[in-house]
């Protein structure tokens, strides 16, 4: 486990989360997050080698949907409350970079 996370690593994570902070804020965050992370070191006292992870609290088989379409009537409401709509499209600043899928 790393002893501390550097401000540059914090910057990377901040960017991944689509946030933006000033340098002073980044420094403050670094301190706070490092403070929290040092507590996580306690978990290394445990032997977790043969422990399987709990990814879900699952009591039984989950429900599934039938393959039958069912229209939802609330579309107009969503459009009327959206920040920007033109001709039924939700408007955002122009997307320049081509990304996945």
């Amino acid at each position: 486990m790393p002893e501390t996370i550097s401000p540059s690593e914090i910057k990377k994570v901040v960017s991944l989360s689509k946030l933006a902070f000033s340098d002073t804020e980044i420094e403050k965050f670094s301190l706070e997050i490092n403070n929290i992370i040092t507590h996580f070191d306690k978990l290394n006292q445990l032997d977790l080698n043969n422990v399987s992870p709990t990814s879900h609290i699952s009591w039984r088989q989950p429900p599934t949907n039938p393959d039958e379409p069912h229209a939802w009537a609330g579309r107009e409401e969503v459009i009327s409350h959206a920040p920007a709509v033109v001709d039924g499209y939700f408007i955002v600043p122009k997307v320049v970079d081509k990304q996945e899928e």
Partner: protein, 482 residues
């Protein structure tokens, strides 16, 4: 590079043929619909919404995995792929990571006459994203519009191992894969409509069996593009190698207009998707009886069907191959056989005349105006020699164009069935009377004269008689003469 070892792997996405989306009850027929009309809180990612899996979509994905000879994993586990993009309303895509539907599969296909085998790395299920538009009549400048109709449509992703070694192989592999997903009724597999999409990874190396630096190629929107894009990329990489430039590991997209691949913008560092199991979707155990049901109801695969055609109907390999190129065509062929049990005869007409008409009209059999019944009606007439082959061809052409039935076309055109022996005898005697020289020639041993006389009789009947019948009657009459 003197000798060049090429390695290509494909990543193929197919939209599944379900009526509802993968995690909500919205319909899937989004093409041509007004934007944001096939939406609900779930596929728009509204606060408080939760996903619930469409069971039929899961079954189709399992069916795909089985058709590709994969090992099907017992539990369906979804992972979140986290990234930001306007067409992704939740800020993550529900996909699969550690536990895909199927692993370690393979399938065989033909490329340039050779049978090839491709291993399948994985088959998994995931939701599609929405669509972006960058131009529109009222769209403000420097804006894009988002439409969530497509968001949440179920996709199956098929990833091959890098077992392909030429752009032609890659194209043919993709065509075969498309054929498979159509044969098993899992997807439309239509690249033009976007229900089949393909990305490829390609690398070259001077050492046989070794992989070079992988370059990802995207935005290939047809089989032809796949071929050309990979061909271009191959040459580009070879040029780099020869000029001793390093080939950069990157993503490039195919520019259809300029016919080059260009580096994708905004991809300086690899995106970190932070995959983790989706806590909103509990692992779903595929019960044994469901798995068995999917296995036993698996529709016949293209290669299997081809082999059956060769055995059951005694068709040649080339003929059988043509018939299984398109599932609908193969179905049409067998539907005809049900009504008229003459497979080779039917195969001949389907492969030549039916395909010719389809090509002329730019249709596939599903779009055409003929049905197995109407086809068989015509074929029966040909078989019974009620009309000539030539006439039949033109009737068929009209059937394709108008959808009218054979009998109606023939009646309208005034093509009557001159299969009345008595009537033909009359005509033949007339011809004999009018052509004494030819008759004499025939009787003195000139075979050609017979053909001339047949020709004359056909002229009188305006081609509407059966030449066989005319020939027989002529022979009879001439012998009587002689």
């Amino acid at each position: 590079m003197e000798k060049c070892f090429i390695t290509i792997g494909l990543e193929v996405h197919c939209q599944l043929l379900t009526k509802a989306k993968l995690f909500c009850r919205c319909g899937t027929d989004y093409i041509g619909k007004q934007p944001n009309t096939l939406v609900c809180p779930v596929c728009m990612g509204l606060p408080g919404s939760l996903p619930v899996m469409n069971q039929h979509a899961m079954k189709l994905a399992v069916r795909t995995a089985i058709a590709l000879h994969c090992e099907v994993l017992p539990r369906v586990v979804f992972h979140r792929k986290n990234y930001f993009y306007p067409d992704l309303p939740k800020g993550y895509q529900i996909s699969q990571f550690d536990f895909p539907i199927g692993i370690h599969g393979y399938f065989e296909f033909f490329s340039q006459g050779e049978k090839k085998k491709v291993r399948i790395k994985r088959v998994h299920i995931e939701e599609d994203a929405g669509k972006l538009v960058h131009e529109g009549p009222n769209l403000p400048a420097s804006s894009s519009g988002v439409d969530f109709n497509r968001c949440g449509i179920p996709l199956v992703e098929i990833v091959t191992e890098p077992d392909l070694h030429s752009p032609e192989d890659a194209r043919d592999c993709l065509i075969a894969l498309r054929n498979i997903v159509r044969f098993i009724n899992v997807s439309d597999g239509n690249m033009e409509e976007g229900s089949l999409r393909c990305d490829a990874n390609i690398s070259i190396s001077p050492i046989d069996g070794q992989m070079g630096i992988k370059v990802e190629v995207k935005n290939m929107n047809s089989f032809r593009s796949v071929h050309r894009a990979l061909d271009y990329e191959l040459q580009r990489q070879q040029k780099c190698f020869n000029a001793q430039q390093t080939i950069i590991q990157e993503t490039r997209h195919w520019d259809e207009i300029h016919e080059v691949t260009v580096p994708s913008r905004g991809k300086e560092e690899a995106e970190d998707y932070r995959y983790f199991p989706d806590p909103d979707l509990l692992p779903y155990l595929i019960q044994t009886d469901i798995l068995e049901e999917i296995k036993t109801t698996l529709p016949e695969l293209p290669l299997e069907r081809k082999e059956r055609f060769m055995i059951e109907y005694e068709l040649t390999e080339p003929d059988a191959t043509v018939l299984v190129q398109d599932k609908a065509l193969a179905d049409f062929f067998e539907a005809c056989i049900k009504e008229l049990n003459k497979p080779k005869f039917i195969a001949n007409w389907v492969i030549t005349e039916v395909l010719k008409n389809l090509n002329t009209l730019g249709q596939n059999i599903g779009q055409s105006k003929i049905t197995p019944s109407s086809m068989v009606e015509l074929l029966k007439m040909i078989d019974k020699k009620e009309i000539s082959g030539t006439i039949a061809k033109s009737v068929l052409e009209e059937m394709f164009q108008t959808g009218a039935k054979a009998k109606d076309i023939i009646a309208k055109k005034g093509i009557s069935f001159i299969n009345n022996e008595k009537e033909l005898e009359k005509i033949v005697r007339q011809v004999i009377e009018q052509n004494p020289q030819s008759v004499a020639d025939f009787l003195s041993g000139k075979e050609k004269a017979l053909h001339f006389l047949i020709g004359q009789a056909m002229k009188v009947t305006r081609g509407q008689a059966s030449p066989e019948m005319v020939k027989n009657i002529l022979n009879k009459e001439l012998l009587a003469e002689g």
